[in-house]
């Protein structure tokens, strides 16, 4: 039984009302997802101005094409896909003259090498304040090559499935898995500096 205070966010009903012309309903959808779309845009474009444009273009495009939302996926998955496309277009535009390819599979075999082995405590992030931790996590994720970063952001931050990520990025499922593995290993390696137990030495293997 649902009560008016039910925490379940009935987004299908909201989408229906927005489609019928309710500004209030679409504003609720914006409030629900703008933070996530903006974070996604920042993570992919790494540029504040671009991310602000992406945020706006994503919701305007979603509003315009609301009738294309079928309701067979979650509204969030649908709007994330619009956001990813907007963000990738911005990124490509920025990188045009820098010969950075998003589509090319970079396989030097190096990325799955593990160099730093040091144990972390149970909750190693508790050593840092929320702001410090946010700064560390952002900096580290931004050091990834764009093709790994985008996959990691969608799979592990925005929590899309492997299939949804593949679809949003126009990649095969094995390509998503391989980039995700390398992204996770690189992040793990870079974070070890911040999270390892004091006095635990790092050494290389593999």
């Amino acid at each position: 039984m649902t009560t008016p205070t039910s925490p379940v966010f009935d987004e299908l009903a909201l989408v229906e009302r927005a489609r019928a012309g309710s500004s209030e309903a679409f504003a609720s959808l914006i409030r629900q997802y703008e933070g996530k779309i903006f974070r996604l845009a920042m993570n992919i474009t790494q540029n504040r101005e671009d991310a602000e444009d992406v945020l706006q273009e994503t919701f305007l495009s979603a509003y315009e094409h609301l009738d294309r939302f079928r309701g067979d996926s979650k509204f969030y998955t649908w709007i994330v896909r619009i956001g990813v496309n907007e963000a990738l277009m911005k990124l490509r535009k920025r990188k045009q003259d820098k010969s950075v390819s998003l589509d090319q599979e970079i396989d030097t075999g190096e990325e799955t090498m593990v160099r730093e082995i040091a144990a972390w405590g149970e909750n190693p992030e508790e050593r840092y304040s929320r702001e410090e931790l946010g700064g560390i996590l952002d900096k580290v994720v931004q050091s990834l090559p764009p093709s790994f970063r985008t996959v990691f952001v969608l799979r592990d931050i925005e929590e899309l499935s492997t299939e949804e990520t593949a679809e949003a990025l126009n990649l095969s499922v094995p390509a998503v898995k391989s980039r995700l593995l390398r992204a996770r290993l690189q992040l793990r390696e870079k974070l070890t500096r911040f999270f390892k137990l004091k006095g635990d030495d790092t050494f290389a293997y593999l």
Partner: protein, 82 residues
Amino acid sequence: MLTCKQFIEELTDYLDESLSGESRAAIEKHISQCPNCWVVADTTRKTIRIYKGMEPYPIPQDLHDRLLAALERKKAAMRQTS
């Protein structure tokens, strides 16, 4: 017994819990005997957990206001063309 390299190749599916029971058992056997791979599995799992736990910051009010204003303009434009 799985090699360390084979373990690394399976790590993502292991952490996402999408391995068959048999492959899963092979991984668990490997990490119970190989301290280095145990550390890699544990710290990679924590990496994912820590990123998942990050709540997005609320977006600045003026950005939110500009978004709503742009939406109003869009609506007006859509009314005119329909």
